[in-house]
């Protein structure tokens, strides 16, 4: 009986540590990315759904970063798999240079889902990818307003400000020019 009680307390402690460990690991990991990660801006189209547990968010549809050339020497895969998008800053803004299946040892890259590979008439292979971000949580009353404002003003461009470090990324803010989206919406 004493042994069972002892084991029960040991497991109690282990469960507490595991639960707290997962939460702390996530906090440390994402805070490190936010602090040390390289900043990239990608154009997005926000929409407004709802999550019962985490609240209102804008769903993000990334533009111009869903397709990228496959790196030279990479062999096509039939099944969807993990890949790495190599990011670069260029004169037209931020973009994905190429996609690889092997993890780069350095530089700015992001882990992505490679959905399929296709080949054009000039034998150039390109990969259709999904970025690991699909939502941005906002205050309950701002999210629907944001969608409304953005739909009404067709000229407004929204960029997702991403922080990327060692293959992982976090959305820091949604920006309209230099202003965060929530401030832009409140000012309208």
């Amino acid at each position: 009986m004493k042994t069972i009680k002892l084991f029960s307390w040991i497991f109690f402690g282990l469960l507490c540590v595991a639960q707290l460990g997962v939460i702390l690991f996530q906090i440390v990991n994402y805070e490190r990315i936010l602090k040390e990660g390289e900043v990239f801006y990608f154009k997005v189209l926000p929409l407004d759904p709802y999550d019962a547990f985490r609240g209102r968010y804008v769903s993000l549809r990334f533009e111009n970063v869903t397709k990228a050339p496959l790196a030279e020497g990479e062999v096509s895969r039939d099944e969807p798999s993990k890949g790495y998008a190599i990011l670069e800053h260029n004169e037209n803004g931020d973009a994905i240079k190429e996609v690889r299946f092997t993890k780069p040892s350095s530089g700015n890259f992001l882990e992505v889902d490679v959905n399929f590979i296709h080949q054009d008439s000039s034998s150039q292979k390109s990969a259709t990818i999904s970025l690991p971000f699909d939502r941005f949580y906002m205050r309950e009353e701002i999210a629907p307003k944001a969608e409304k404002v953005l739909r009404a003003r067709s000229g407004v461009t929204v960029n997702a400000k991403l922080r990327v470090l060692e293959g992982k990324g976090v959305i820091e803010e949604l920006m309209v020019g230099e202003i965060p989206l929530s401030q832009f919406v409140l000012s309208k």
């Binding site: 469960l15 507490c16 999550d51 547990f53 985490r54 609240g55 939502r135 906002m138 205050r139 309950e140």
Partner: protein, 449 residues
Amino acid sequence: MSKENYAWLERELPSWVGEGIVTKEGAKALLSRYESETFAHRSSGMAFSLLGFALVGLGIISILAYNWDELGHLERTLLAIVLLVGAQAFGFWVKRYKANDTSLLEGSGVLWFLMMGASLAIIGQTYHLGGTVFDFLSVWLLLSFGIAWLLPSSSAAFLQIILWTVVWISSRGDFASLMEMNAGSFIGSWVLFGIALCWLGYYVWQLKTAKNANTTLLLSWGLAISLLLIFIVEIAIQMHAMFNLRSTLNLLALFFAMYYMVGMLFLSHGEKTWQRPFERIGKFGALILVLSHTSFKLWNWIDRSASYMQEPSQTSWLMISFIVLYGVLLVLLIRKIKQVPAEILVIFTPLIFFVYTAIQNSSEVSAYAAMLFINATLILGASVMIVCGAKEAKIGLINQGMILIALTVWIHFMDADFDLVAKGMAFIVTGILFLGINALVRRKLRAKA
């Protein structure tokens, strides 16, 4: 035993000991035997305690879902940690110092379970983590697994089986595509199966140690709802893959009859309706199934869609395992009750539907034979209920039989093209007959008593 009966026993026992009817030790044993049951009956205090903890937990989740953007990362992450550590510390305090207070143990389990979800929600919200709501629920399930065992808290186990069911259903890719949902879980089927086995271990432990406790009854309701939902999902997937209405009817009939028998044999926690989850769900499902096939209009619809139906595929693994299990349960039930059961209609629903679908498939028999068969069996089954109810002086059973007959009559009356006044008159006449027979039976039963 109710509190009043226990108080009466407590008053009477000293005189029984004095008269030598029971020994002093026997009297003590009797009191301690019923003391635990009386304790289990203190349900209202427990229910309010659980409701309180559940509401506080859900309230916190709801407030956090508002997404307070005034709070920075530091405040949010601290909040996530404080909520989780607070719930863990409360659980520790209750387990260490209030281990005999069942209400607190149960409530702390519920709070801990909900705060785990709240912490994960804050982290997801703060860092805008992607993925579906099912991914979030899967992480929650994995991290809250064990809370029920460690405190122990059956209420946390109840929440866990509900969460497990949602994750299991979301992991059934065929169902997700059928419902056009963006579902799926990163937890493999074998891990989910393992979690379910551990949960069943906890359930068996509670059945052995506190079968009559309300918290164990809560677990039975959780299991009954979970199995029912999983079965409906599996049936929907099968139906989508190969539309076969007759085969589905046979499976449903087997499922509800088995539920009823499992409830009768093993999983009842008292005499009241809400204390018999498996039995009630099984009975309700079987009777609805039979009643829904008494209508001639429904038969016409089935007949018109006959081109979509094939012979019942009794050879599927699900059907074979159901038939074997049904047979085993039937033998066990017959050995236990050793007489014709009053609710024979529910127990024999699968046999009724096997014959019903066989007649429907036969081209030599008249088109209306299947309908007449199911109507006749329903009337016969309801009559058995009324006769048994009269013999055993159970007014509830008599009423059940009468309701079934009345519903059959009403269904046929609705089938017919009578005007509203005629239909209204039929309802009034049946109602008056119902009330009259009830009053007569009550008077007879009182005279007998």
